[in-house]
């Protein structure tokens, strides 16, 4: 736990979220908003969502406000929880834009489930997992990290990444495969 100074300074998001859940605490919610809204917006823009970036931010933050009490440290860190909500809302907005009429279709929430409780894993373990993931990411070679970021975070296809970086498609696939292999090895070594 000696590797990162930045995370030590960041507020206890879990505690702030608990205040939102218990007291509708606006100040706590504002702090969460100020940290996450610009990040969600950046994510939206990276995903090619520029036109609907603000919509996504407002949808996600509405969800955070209304579902704060469902957050549990035993499940994930707050940033992972916010990420999963953001991911689902992005998919949901896209699906709604593409829908031609009101139909019975399977809900995004059924396909990408955000668990609400998991008593099998203790919270301390989970929070250290997140730190561990961050540390694992830092161990990836730069070129693998770039490819992974583009695919995971910007929703780019392998072909688009190849074109953007001006490298052969096979090289992109190789870098991604290596990065995922390395992450899996690190995850499993940690036995989380």
């Amino acid at each position: 736990m000696n590797d990162s100074t930045a995370t030590n300074d960041s507020p206890d998001w879990g505690a702030l979220l608990a205040r939102v859940a218990e007291h509708d605490d606006k100040a706590a919610f504002r702090a969460i908003y100020q940290h996450f809204a610009p990040r969600i917006k950046a994510y939206a823009i990276n995903q090619g969502f520029s036109q609907h970036a603000e919509v996504l931010v407002q949808e996600v933050m509405t969800s955070v406000w209304r579902n704060a009490e469902k957050y549990s440290e035993s499940l994930a860190s707050v940033s992972t929880w916010v990420f999963t909500i953001t991911r689902n809302q992005r998919i949901d907005i896209l699906r709604k834009l593409n829908r031609t009429r009101a139909e019975v279709v399977i809900e995004t929430e059924d396909l990408w489930q955000i668990p609400t409780e998991d008593t099998t894993i203790c919270s301390i373990q989970n929070l250290s997992t997140e730190k561990f993931v961050t540390a694992a990411l830092e161990k990836l070679p730069e070129e693998q990290m770039i490819a992974l970021r583009k695919v995971y975070y910007e929703g780019k296809t392998h072909e688009e990444v190849a074109e953007e970086l001006n490298i052969p498609l096979g090289t992109v696939k190789g870098r991604l495969r290596l990065s995922l292999q390395k992450l899996r090895v690190m995850f499993e070594a940690k036995e989380i």
Partner: protein, 223 residues
């Protein structure tokens, strides 16, 4: 428990939310059965959280927070129940992963109004529930021991076994297994002897039957 899993790239695409809805259905169905993949997806979700922390923030509108607060507060007055998203509190005992189709099937798997394809093969179509162009999605039921005619694929096909099992030229598959096939495979699965095999199939192009069974194409989607 399962022996056949989605590969790491598929799990990553799922966690990132960049795979299609039909593909995510197949992955989600496998997650119901597979603790290892649930764990790995959880780790890959953490990856999303970690990336969110390291992203270069974009500037938001100055009054965006106040606007949001105003709309939240006016809504919260009219609707005092704050929690709206699924699942409801009564579902909270569910610890892992719920069958994503559970809410959409009229009855249990055994009692579904199966549509007969041949004497030994029937299906329950889900294409309209998923409603994504270019995909055929169905539950398939093969009688114990029955053989599906040889076919190849134009696109790719994911199969998740919900009960029973089958074998083909490449292996033997059981409950929970996730099997991915693409255009390079030509196979004829046979259900295992002891019980009927029920599985979810996600297909991104019509099947092409080799031999005379092609007259059945494309109504009989199965791998």
């Amino acid at each position: 428990m399962s022996a056949y899993h989605p590969d790491d790239m598929t799990l990553m695409n799922y966690a990132a939310g960049s795979c299609s809805i039909p593909e995510s259905l197949a992955v989600a169905m496998h997650l119901c059965f597979c603790h290892d993949c649930r764990q790995h997806v959880k780790n890959l979700n953490h990856l999303g959280g970690a990336l969110l922390e390291t992203i270069k923030p974009a500037s938001t509108d100055d009054d965006a927070f106040e606007t949001l607060m105003a709309s939240l507060e006016s809504h919260d007055h009219s609707a005092p129940v704050k929690v709206k998203m699924e699942p409801t509190p009564s579902d909270r005992s569910i610890q892992h992963f719920t069958n994503p189709l559970l809410r959409y099937l009229p009855t249990s798997l055994a009692n579904l109004p199966w549509q007969r394809q041949t004497k030994e093969i029937s299906k329950f179509d889900l294409t309209s529930l998923i409603n994504v162009k270019g995909f055929q999605i169905a539950l398939q039921k093969i009688s114990a021991g029955a053989k599906v005619p040889m076919h190849t694929h134009k696109g790719f096909e994911y199969t998740v076994i919900l009960s029973g099992g089958f074998s083909d030229e490449l292996g033997v598959y059981h409950e929970g297994d996730f099997i991915a096939r693409d255009a390079s495979h030509k196979h004829s699965p046979t259900a295992l002897q002891n019980e009927d095999c029920i599985c979810l199939t996600v297909l991104n192009a019509p099947l092409k039957f080799t031999g005379w069974y092609r007259v059945l194409n494309p109504f009989m989607a199965w791998s």
